[in-house]
């Protein structure tokens, strides 16, 4: 029944032509490239300590060493290499956490929007409870409960952010459920799950994809927050948030330890925001006009 959905091709083309999607997407590809090619790009091992060259400034400043282009941190580790390796945690968290949150939230939203009043009430009350938590605090509590590790960070993000998808998908499912094509499908005798998955879900996919782009940006921020507080991946694995926390300690002696990971984080967030906003503008028929 693909022909019942709105034409996909022009929409896709418009999304690709949108400059925000193009610029944001280029930034995200760069991020992905850094993560995949980290061993080739990084001049040093990100964990290699050189206690004779701690807190070296970037190479273009007085006292800098060309071997450490962006300087070194308090343990003499190369800032540039740590920045590059940090993208691995960032990319994994963004992809996995956002996808899982999107799947769980969308599924619950679909069911609540279609399965009738009882299911809807149950989900709405659950969302009320979730919305009453301060999200940052809840993620910190969760990460502490689950213990350090990439899996815990991802789980914490999924547990907090599934509601973003559930709320929007629930509302949109209700709109779709009243449309003629759903009535037709029902009168043809299709069972509820088949209507949801094969008829309604394809019409929601553009919306869900937009939410996914936004959620990936949020996941990156939450991971940075958790590693800043010291509750993300274990040990000395390089993360931007962890580097920021170290930089906060030595800020009066070495501003570059704080400034560079902050810059990376800000640029990444902007790339996700641009990409998501551009997608939304390209997909949303109201804003397209």
């Amino acid at each position: 029944m693909a022909d019942l959905t709105t034409p996909a091709l022009p929409r896709r083309r418009r999304a690709a032509l949108n400059p925000r999607v193009a610029i944001g997407g280029a930034g995200l590809l760069l991020l992905l490239g850094c993560a995949v090619l980290a061993p080739l790009l990084a001049p040093h091992d990100p964990l290699e300590q050189d206690l004779f060259s701690t807190l070296l400034p970037p190479s273009w400043l007085a006292g800098g060493d060309p071997a450490f282009p962006l300087g070194t941190d308090g343990l003499g580790r190369d800032v540039l290499s740590r920045l590059i390796y940090s993208t691995r945690v960032t990319v994994v968290v963004a992809l996995v956490a956002a996808t899982l949150a999107g799947m769980i939230g969308s599924l619950l939203g679909l069911v609540a929007g279609y399965a009738g009043r009882a299911a809807d009430q149950a989900l709405s009350r659950l969302i009320d409870v979730w919305m009453a938590f301060p999200p940052v605090l809840l993620s910190i509590v969760l990460a502490a409960v689950l213990g350090a590790g990439l899996g815990s960070v991802i789980a914490a993000i999924v547990v907090i952010d599934w509601t973003r998808f559930a709320r929007v998908v629930r509302a949109e499912t209700m709109v779709q459920a009243r449309m003629d094509y759903v009535t037709v499908a029902r009168s043809l005798g299709l069972p509820g799950p088949a209507i949801l998955m094969r008829e309604i879900l394809p019409n929601l996919l553009p919306l869900i994809l937009t939410l996914l782009a936004v959620e990936m940006g949020i996941a990156v921020i939450v991971e940075a927050i958790l590693s800043f507080v010291g509750l993300s991946v274990a040990g000395d694995t390089a993360t931007w948030g962890g580097m920021i926390a170290e930089g906060r300690q030595v800020i009066r002696q070495a501003w570059w330890v704080l400034a560079f990971p902050m810059g990376c984080l800000v640029l990444t967030i902007f790339a996700f925001t641009l990409f998501g906003d551009g997608l939304r503008a390209a997909i949303d028929p109201v804003r397209r006009r």
Binding site: V136, L137, I251
Partner: protein, 335 residues
């Protein structure tokens, strides 16, 4: 209509709080770490440990612990903090004013700045001035509050150390207060040097919290101002020769404000949630900073008390915003 909506919202407050309590309680009870293990001196006997465990009720089942805690809460007893060995309610109430003052200051600044930007943007429509304002708003919105905080620290601790970047007040000034609302009290009693000192400490964390919020206000209010300006009554006023400035301020602003207020409600809860990290970054002694310490110390009673406090604030704020929106909106007022 308002009364019915209010009633149905009020009915949900207690179940929601109960849900929050259950979730947090169960979550914390599956913690692998033992909170008692952190407070016993080396060489304590097994009997001592058991006695401590019983003292904090940790030897019972989760359901029994929850029942005990809930009946305590109903009577105003939130238990004792394990790490600080003080009454949880007292600890929270002692720190809450600091957070409320910071969040209140940030919200006020954000609404004022956001409204000013929106009005200026609407007034300067289709000029370079509007593009500049749009760019400022996009940047303020794109960077989350804790990164603004760190950026301010970078600037004000390294480049231009003109403002304090840690603490709520200079230690020497923190005397002679009869409440913990230092800022409000010092203004009310005319202690201007103290108030000035408090404000100097609050400027940077408040600005970090305020920037994303101000940007949201500016963006939404500017859009609805543009829409309102096209309404018949605004065009009518224009045809009668009123200046644009007057139309924006007198005709458009009151009507355009309604969607902004509705949205600001949700955003204020984000701002309040943001205090957790921003207080940490600026070593500001509010409940957010306390909450992170409580989590790190696995101080279960204190975490529970603090999460419940935040939840109560979130729910109360949302309720207040709903009421304000209903009162502002003439379509909801009738009937």
């Amino acid at each position: 209509m308002i009364r019915g909506m209010l009633l149905s919202r009020l009915m949900l407050v207690l179940p929601t709080l109960f849900g929050v309590a259950v979730v947090v309680f169960v979550l914390l009870r599956v913690v692998p770490g033992d909170p008692i293990a952190m407070m016993i001196p080396p060489g304590a006997s097994a009997a001592d440990i058991d006695r401590l465990r019983a003292l904090y009720g940790l030897d019972r089942s989760i359901a029994a612990q929850f029942g005990l805690w809930l009946s305590g809460v109903a009577g105003g007893d939130f238990g004792r903090s394990i790490s600080l060995r003080q009454d949880v309610l007292g600890l929270v109430l002692g720190r809450l004013p600091a957070t409320l003052e910071l969040a209140g200051l940030a919200a006020l600044a954000a609404v004022a700045a956001g409204a000013a930007l929106a009005l200026a943007g609407a007034y300067l429509r289709s000029t370079p001035g509007e593009w500049l304002i749009d760019a400022v708003v996009a940047v303020a919105l794109g960077i989350p509050d804790f990164l603004w905080g760190l950026l301010f620290i970078l600037v004000f601790a390294v480049l231009a150390p003109v403002l304090p970047v840690s603490g709520r007040i200079d230690p020497g000034m923190a005397t002679g207060f009869s409440t913990n609302f230092y800022l409000i009290e010092s203004i009310a009693t005319g202690r201007w040097t103290v108030a000035g000192g408090l404000l100097r400490h609050a400027v940077l964390p408040a600005a970090a919290l305020a920037l994303p919020f101000a940007a949201i206000v500016a963006r939404v209010l500017k859009a609805s101002l543009a829409e309102t300006e096209q309404q018949d009554y605004a065009l009518m006023a224009r045809a009668r020769g009123f200046t644009r400035r007057r139309i924006l301020l007198v005709e458009a602003l009151p009507n355009a404000a309604i969607p902004t207020v509705a949205l600001a409600g949700v955003q204020v809860t984000f701002l309040l949630g943001g205090t957790v990290l921003v207080e940490r970054i600026f070593s500001y002694e509010g409940i957010g900073n306390m909450a992170i310490d409580a989590v790190i110390n696995r101080d279960l009673p204190l975490i529970q008390g603090l999460v419940l406090t935040f939840a109560l604030l979130f729910i109360a704020l949302n309720l207040v915003v709903d009421i304000v929106v209903a009162l502002l909106n003439p379509r909801l007022r009738r009937g």
